[in-house]
Structures are given as structure tokens and as C-alpha cells.
Symmetry: C2
Subunit: 464 residues, 2 copies
């Protein structure tokens, strides 16, 4: 099956994307329009603080955000609706009717590791366009990056055991379920149960059977046999509908019959109870019957912490189905990702709000490596600074409203996460209380900040 990841899959009809915005973006835009303020602005997307226990973040949703910007427009229904609010002028509504995003975007590629305060992307555009981009850009990048990060943590905890995304039913809607499948695959999962995601993104689909399948037959053995008959080379039998250990013995009988017909039972699945204890008991039952090739799959309530406990404890589980807790990034369902103006009309700007101040000016992030190729620290610098021996992370992705860099093929993004995690020293990858990865601010940014703070306290004018 060819990957279909190159096709954009907008989360909304293109003509509706313009309205997927906060009302104030439109009132501010009308004010800019009326004041004749069409200066170019640069906005920076970054995370202020790590969610609990996170020492790194994985960028995802960047390509969706860029697809949305490319398509951002206002259809008739939207323009008519805005007119009916009575808040907007005809001139401004006409402007919106013809609106296309004509800005440029520099961005980290999908799957990049990033850290707090580092711009993941920067939009430079006439101020109205840059402002109208805010809501949809944060909306797409924030949660997808959280899901990719949570998934990457699971991959680390599983230490090579394959993981599958089982989250479809518990994500926040169908769009989120598709992006969860994609984000978890990028982070290193091997498969998804979400068939539409598998089709759209070219991810291997996977699945076993549900309790309802078992209960719709007269007994468990009959259900197992019916399934094995239909899928003789890809049957994973669910053991916990009535009693897991009894079911394991029935699975042995079924597997023996399959052997007699030249087939092999692929696996059995545990979905409740004490996975450590049950997996050992079931492994023994299988092994005693000479079925050492039958794999044990566990699912239900898993996250990186539980995976770590099972893997470190030596539970003989070969594969994990990971759902709910990862699909909503349960211990960190949101983070403080913001989109802040850093430059207006050639003038670097910043806000000083308590605990929420921003770094002024358009920027570049430089990544430094040690002699062994391991990540040694990032520098947040001004866009035009040069750091010869370091890797610049933001690349021009969009210019004049058109994609310059094509979207990352999903396998390229997946490789990028794997490479990043391999280069990130252990102390920053720990599941709990990771060390803080060194991110410094260049002398250029610091000088600019000092200068603006001085100007502001002198005259409440934030000009550089």
C-alpha cells in the first residue's frame, strides 16, 4: 500500500478555515484595516513551560498548520455571517472575501525535537494576515505536539517492543483520532487500529477482537475457532471476557488445532487485571504447550509509566496496545503554547506581562552537538545571527503564501524523531524529573531585550 501522506487533509473545508478563529482576531483586523496599518509583523510560536515530567517536546501538526494557512479563506457563508453581526464594515468584509494568506513561514520540520522558549515556527506577513493565522496555528500544533511527545515517551519506555495506537474512541473527536494515529506513528509506534488514519497516512492497520465478539457466540471456544477459521494467519485471541487463565487454556486448544492445519496462532491479548502476573501465567501455559511462538499483547490503561513498570519488571509481554491515556496526553492534555508578536513594521516588540514576557525579534534556533554527535545545547538567536558550527532548525517553509518545502513524508518525520531521540542524552529523556536541556539566549537577543525594556521604562514606548 502506497503511503498517502503527501495529500493535504484539511481539518475543515477551506472556506471555513478563516472563521476558525477567535472573534478578537477579526475585530483587531478591522481596526488595523481602518487605521491603514499594513506593516509586516512577525509572530513566534513557542512553549513557555514544560508539561509535567517532560524534558523535551516533539513537533507535530506543523504541516497541518501550513496546509491550513495555504487554504485560509472566507466563503460566502462566513462573510454573510460576519455582516449579520453588525460589527464589520463593508470595506473590511470585501477585503476578507478576497483574503488569501500571502505571508512567509519559517518552521522546524515535522518530528523535530524542541524545547521551551524556542520558536517552532515564525510567521511573517502583513499584520492582519499574521494575526488571522494565530488560532488555527496554535490549534493544530499544540495538541499534536503533545500527542507526539507522549507517544515518544511510550516508545522510550517500551524499549523496542512494538506499540500500536488503540486510542480512536477516546480522543477528542475524529480529527484528533486521525492526528493521534499520525503523531504516534511519527513518534515510533508501529501500527494503528484507526482504519481511516491507516488509509490516509499509510500507517499499518492492526487489531484483534472485542469482548462483544466473544459474547455473541455461545461460548469462548466457539468464538476463538470462528475467528481463527477466518484469519488463520493473523488471529490474536482476547482472553479476559470471562476468566483470563481459563481462556488461555482454550486458546492453547485452538492453537493446537491450527497447527494441525498448518497455521499458527499469532497471539493472545490481555485487556484487564494484573498484566505482570497474568502475562507470566499465560506465558507459562503457552510455553508448556510448545507454543513459544504465540505472542502476548497487552492493552488497557497503558501509558509510559505503566509500560516502564511492566518492561523493567520483566513481564513477558511482546506488544502493547496503547489507547486512552496517550490519545489525550492524560497527564498533560494542554501546554502553554503561545503565538506572540516579536516584530512589527521593522521594529522588534515584546510583552512584559507577569510571568508571560516574550523575547523580541525574529529568530533562529541553533542546535549544538558534542564530539560524539550528541545534542549539547540550543541557542535562541536573532534571525540574522550566524553560529557556524551549529545546526539551524528553522527553515523557510512558505513564501508569499506558497509552500516552499513540501510537507514531510510521514516516514521522514518518523526518522527525524528517532534520530533526535538517539542524539538526546539520557538525562533529558528520563520519564520522571528529567534534567533541563540547556537552552541559551544569544547575546544579540539579550541586547535587544535590555534595550526595549529600557525604552519602555523610559517612555512607555516599546520602539527599538
Amino acid at each position: 500500500m502506497a503511503s498517502q501522506s503527501e495529500q493535504p487533509h484539511l481539518p475543515l473545508p477551506a472556506g471555513d478555515i478563516g472563521l476558525l478563529t477567535d472573534f478578537y482576531e477579526l475585530t483587531m483586523a478591522q481596526s488595523y484595516f481602518a487605521e491603514g496599518m499594513d506593516g509586516e509583523a512577525t509572530f513566534s510560536l513557542y512553549v513557555r513551560e514544560y508539561p509535567p515530567e517532560r524534558g523535551y517536546l516533539v513537533a507535530a501538526g506543523v504541516d497541518d498548520a501550513l496546509d491550513c494557512l495555504t487554504a485560509l479563506s472566507f466563503n460566502d457563508a462566513s462573510v454573510d455571517y460576519l455582516r449579520d453581526t453588525g460589527v464589520f464594515t463593508e470595506e473590511f468584509l470585501e477585503y476578507l472575501r478576497g483574503f488569501r494568506f500571502t505571508g512567509s513561514v519559517r518552521a522546524m520540520p515535522e518530528g523535530s525535537l524542541f524545547f521551551t522558549d524556542e520558536p517552532i515556527l515564525e510567521v511573517t506577513a502583513p499584520v492582519i494576515a499574521a494575526q488571522l493565522a494565530e488560532t488555527i496555528v496554535i490549534n493544530q500544533v499544540q495538541y499534536q505536539s503533545l500527542l507526539a511527545t507522549k507517544s515518544a515517551r511510550c516508545v522510550m519506555a517500551a524499549e523496542g517492543r512494538p506499540l500500536a495506537d488503540f486510542a480512536a474512541r477516546r480522543t477528542h473527536g475524529s480529527e484528533a483520532s486521525l492526528r493521534m494515529a499520525r503523531a504516534s506513528y511519527i513518534a515510533g509506534f508501529g501500527a494503528t487500529s484507526n482504519v481511516l488514519a491507516a488509509r490516509r497516512y499509510g500507517i499499518p492497520p492492526t487489531g484483534t477482537m472485542a469482548h462483544s465478539y466473544i459474547t455473541s457466540f455461545d461460548d469462548e471456544a466457539e468464538a476463538f475457532r470462528a475467528y481463527a477459521r477466518r484469519f488463520p494467519d493473523r488471529s490474536i485471541l482476547l482472553l479476559d471476557t470471562y476468566d483470563t487463565i481459563d481462556a488461555a487454556r482454550i486458546a492453547v486448544d485452538v492453537a493446537k488445532d491450527m497447527e494441525a492445519n498448518g497455521h499458527r496462532l499469532t497471539g493472545v491479548r490481555l485487556d484487564s487485571g494484573d498484566f505482570d502476573d497474568l502475562s507470566r501465567q499465560v506465558r507459562r501455559i503457552l510455553d508448556d504447550a510448545g507454543l513459544d511462538y504465540v505472542r502476548i499483547v497487552a492493552s488497557g490503561g497503558l501509558d509510559e509509566y505503566e509500560l516502564d513498570r511492566l518492561v523493567q519488571g520483566g513481564a513477558p509481554i511482546d506488544m502493547f496496545g496503547v489507547g486512552t491515556r496517550v490519545g489525550v496526553s492524560a497527564d498533560a492534555p494542554y501546554c502553554d503554547m503561545v503565538y506572540k508578536m516579536v516584530c512589527y513594521d521593522g521594529r522588534p516588540v515584546m510583552k512584559l506581562s507577569a510571568g508571560k514576557s516574550s523575547l523580541p525579534g525574529g529568530k533562529q534556533v541553533f542546535r549544538q552537538y558534542d564530539a560524539h554527535g550528541r545534542m549539547a545545547g540550543d541557542v535562541i538567536a536573532l534571525e540574522d545571527e550566524r553560529h557556524e558550527s551549529a545546526e539551524p532548525l528553522l527553515a523557510l517553509a512558505m513564501s508569499d503564501g506558497r509552500r516552499i518545502l513540501p510537507p514531510s513524508p510521514i516516514d521522514a518525520a518518523r526518522q527525524r524523531v528517532a534520530d533526535g531521540l538517539a542524539k538526546l542524552p539520557d538525562q533529558y529523556r528520563k520519564l520522571r524529573a528529567p534534567a533541563r536541556y540547556p537552552v541559551s539566549v544569544s547575546a544579540g537577543v539579550q541586547r535587544l531585550e535590555t534595550q526595549i525594556r529600557g525604552d519602555l521604562s523610559a517612555g512607555r514606548s516599546q520602539g527599538a
Copy 2:
């Protein structure tokens, strides 16, 4: 503006909905198909355990789930994709190509209060169709109910002060942002900042201004004046870009100039810092200038716990913008909502998995009221039981794949939540450690359960 809530807004193209399912639903379906198992099955959607601190839940997403079932089908891209997996027979693929959901659904109306173990909806359909409905039904109802519940808790905490949904940028995708606006409005919020949601659902749009607006002007006063000039009767000035108290004094000057021109400043917004302290200082500054009509809006990091603290502490805040924490139901981003087979081919069934057993048989939920009209306890009964003095909550919503009951207009759903909360005694509505609302299981269900458990332990056959 007329409400557009009657139009269905499918989260996905109709022909893609069939594949928004877990892969095992399709492999099980193929097995049923091959075995000639076309018996009618009933599945029940319910929540096993309350999320932390919840004493009630608000049903939302039921109408979206029904819209998805009405549209559930497999387009050519989906059928071709399934063929390419090599797992499915041509006969089964042909069946899917012509598939339409022809079952019936009994459901609680949108906005109903419900409790653990109570079916929110029950699907009765040929087993394949009932099974294929699982993923999308849970996917739509679970998170929307969580968002409506979290929002209702905010409404209780705000004690009459208006709330606005500011969550668009931090929900899990655009679909979730639209449903958050809808769920929070149903729960009693007064407005949303999400303009597309406002258009689609007929919710009043609202908004103020962003920090970037302030920083794009030479100084704060100039920004305030430009906005007030454009929106002389709906300006809410953001105070915390540089220093909240300084900005309040500037806002006073602007408001005085507006008065001179026959206009009134609507409000000021606090977005960071200690809201209790700042709101008192800002109120004093405004009142001292004779601007007692200028309202104070607070936003940033709010949830029901923080709203409760501010309201009980007497902070002079007139309106709240509620975003991130409510838009992802941060302290409970998922719950244990499941869809379980309770009847197959006329035979009640149940699963016994540790901590996850289900109640057998198709059901009705009856709500009892005391002499004062307050909710006094629910009874989970068999579908054909009668409880004369109690209110049955599940109504036939869909028959033969067609809607019998039209979707609830959004205002009707909103009224239903308000009525339900008004009738729910205080001890169950508390924000923390609420009492457990009495939900009992009828003698009929209990008899059936005892009988099936006996049959199962006797013969590992779960027939009734």
C-alpha cells in the same frame, strides 16, 4: 442571527465515516458475515466510573453520533483500501460498499444529566452494523460529555456571572474546538470567541483584543484609542501587556474621552497576575473616576476551582473568559465510557472481566423525583419494565436507520441542562467530593444477571 443548529455538521465526509473505526470492528464483521451471523444485537453506551470530583455528567455529542450513524458508509477509496490490505473477501467488500446503518437507537436527549452505569444510548441492529457503530459513537459522545460536564461545573461556580468560551486554540483540533463551543453553550455559557462555532450553532460571538494588538502600536494609549474609535460601543481593553495598574489609569483617560463623545467603555480585561487583588485595585481606579459601569473581565488559567475561589472571595469580576483547562477538561480529559453488547439474537449477554463487568439486557433508565420536584434517584431497568411514577430517560431517536426524533435545537439542550441542574440536590452538584447520586438496578436486571452468572459458571455458556 438565526440559529443554524438544525443542520448536521458531520465531523468527516460521510463516505469516510465507515473507516473511522477500529480495525477489529471490520475483521469481526467479516467473521460474522462469513459465519452467517446476522442476529440482532443491542449495545449499551455508558460510563463505568465518575471522573475525579464529578457527581453527575452532562450528555453531549449524542446528536453528532446519530448524524454519523445516519451517514455511515464506505466510499470507493475506503473499499479499495480495505481490498489492498489483503484481509477481506470480495463478498464482504461488496457488502460494505452497499452498507447503510439500518438499526434503531434509543437515547437520552442532548443535555440530559446522567450517572454511572446508566445507558446514554442503546443501539439495536444486525450485529455487524451495531459493531461498526462502536468507535464513532464513543468518539463523539465521550469527550463532548466531558466538556459539557466541565463547563456545567464552571457555570455552577460562577453563580450567575456570564462565562465565555475562549478555548479554541487549545482544544484537540478544530472539530473539538467547535464541539467545545457548543458543549459549553449547552452547559450555560453565554458566548464563544470561536467565530465558526458561533456561525454554525448560533452562539453569540465575543472577544476583546490581544497583546499583539497593543504591541503593534507605539504605545498602549494609542492602541486603546484606536480600538475605541473603531468599536465605540463594544470595547474591552486588555490591561496586562506591560503593567495592569498603569494600563487601568490609561483606560480611565480613554473612557473619559469616550464619554465626551457620547460613548461608554464596555470593559477592561485582566489576563495574568493575581486576579483577586488586581480586580479590586482596578475596580477602585474605575469607581474613583466615576466609571462604575465599566465591567471587569478576567481570563487566563480559569477553571471551576479558580472561579469558585474568586467568586467566593468576592473579587469584583463581572465576566469570565474560560479557555484551556475547560476546553480539554484538564483534570479529567477522558472517562471510562464504553459500548458493550448486552443482547445478541434475543439472548441477554454480559462480560465478567475483572472490574469491568456489564449489566445484561436492553434497558431503560427511570428518574424519580421527590415531592418538591427534586431528583431523588434513578433506576436502571430492563427495557420492557414499567415504573409508573418515574420519568423514562431513553427515547426512540432512530428507527430503521432514520432519525425519528429530530436533533435537539441547541437552546432546547441548553434548557435541559439548566432544568436538570436546578432539580439536582446540592450534595450531588458540589465541586469537590460530591455525594453519590443514588442509582439502583431493578429487580429484573438483577434476576437476569444472577441467572447468567449461574449459567456461565455451570457451563461456560452465557445463554439466558
